[in-house]
């Protein structure tokens, strides 16, 4: 294996002290512009990459933030990361993504292991897209690691922890009003498991909307990924005597893709025979147009 270039190699190549090279690479003062440029060029030429973890241990700069996601196949997370990265760049911080439900299935063991890893690596802060356990919050608090929840509520007893949530009840009422305007009163909610805290609000809002607009609502639960949504909806529709619902409301992007595939396989016309609604924004297929 080729030896990795070190700080000492950059020092030798530039003729500057290790101290000066270190300060130049970490953008600290006390180094002239000419020396800094010389160091950066030498580092580039040698392929030297600073050991950020070691730097942080020495300086305690708190420069690494973790984003805990649950199934990154959801387009929602790509836009979310764009917003997070754009903001962190201004403070010279970087984000790492850790998925606790990569296959759409959450396990507590994965969460526990991840939280320990984040503490060990002295992560500066956490943005969590699903409700973490009370135990995880207590551990992160013990190590002074702040947490912000997005699209999910803090666990019970951690009400003061920051959160950015969506008014899913209000959103569901908007959906209900729109569907009622079309005269659609037979709704099927293809929902992800209640482990994701937004499920309860969406379901409650849809129930209220169904009641307000005289519609019937059936809830069909699937694991939180495209393949599971496809399988669950297929089995549901294959049940003898089951008719197509007039509307399928998918819990998120991966699930709407599963539902669309089921309808495509069965040559069901969307929206002529079945209308589709989905929570979460998505660019959508190109053949769809905005009204």
């Amino acid at each position: 294996m080729t030896k990795k270039p070190t700080l000492r190699d950059v020092s030798r190549a530039t003729g500057l002290s290790v101290y000066t090279v270190s300060r130049a690479l970490s953008n600290r003062d006390g180094v002239s512009t000419a020396s800094r440029e010389r160091v950066l060029k030498a580092a580039r030429d040698l392929g030297y990459v600073p050991n950020r973890a070691a730097q942080e241990l020495r300086r305690n700069t708190r420069s690494s933030v973790a984003v805990i996601t649950a199934s990154t196949s959801n387009y929602y997370y790509l836009d979310l990361m764009t917003g997070i990265q754009r903001t962190l760049r201004h403070s010279d911080r970087a984000a790492i993504v850790a998925d606790v439900a990569a296959e759409g299935v959450y396990t507590r063991a994965v969460e526990d292991s991840l939280v320990h890893d984040l503490i060990q690596s002295r992560t500066a802060g956490v943005i969590a897209t699903l409700t973490l356990s009370r135990r995880s919050i207590q551990l992160l608090e013990k190590w002074d690691i702040p947490v912000v929840f997005v699209d999910s509520a803090p666990p019970e007893g951690a009400d003061r922890v920051p959160s950015i949530t969506t008014d899913n009840i209000g959103a569901s009422m908007k959906v209900g009003a729109h569907l009622a305007g079309h005269g659609y009163t037979d709704w099927l909610f293809l929902a992800y498991p209640a482990r994701w805290s937004t499920r309860a609000q969406c379901e409650r809002g849809l129930c209220e909307a169904a009641s307000a607009y005289g519609a019937t609502l059936e809830v069909l639960e699937s694991e939180n990924d495209t393949a599971s949504a496809y399988g669950t909806l297929s089995r549901y529709l294959d049940t003898p005597g089951r008719a197509l619902p007039r509307v399928i409301i998918a819990g998120n992007n991966p699930m709407v893709h599963g539902a669309l595939r089921v309808l495509q396989d069965r040559a069901v016309k969307v929206p002529d025979e079945v209308a589709i609604v989905a929570f979460d924004d998505s660019p959508g297929p190109r053949c769809w147009t905005l009204h």
Binding site: T87, R93, V150, P162, I164, D167, V277, D280, D281
Partner: protein, 58 residues
């Protein structure tokens, strides 16, 4: 589709988190406790827009 504008949510979340971390860094510099300080304004609820898309049939 219900547009939850997740990019804006990401911006807000990162702003809140970096604000809290910056306060911790400053507290550390002053030799004070680095316990994260959470405030009521750190809890926000956004609305979602309903976007109507129509299949062209292809």
């Amino acid at each position: 589709m219900l547009n939850e504008d997740s990019e804006t949510i990401g911006v807000l979340a990162a702003q809140i988190l970096t604000g809290i971390i910056d306060e911790q860094v400053e507290a550390e510099r002053l030799g004070k406790a680095t316990t994260p300080v959470y405030r009521p304004e750190h809890r926000q609820e956004m609305t979602a827009d309903l976007i109507i898309r129509k299949s062209c049939g292809c």
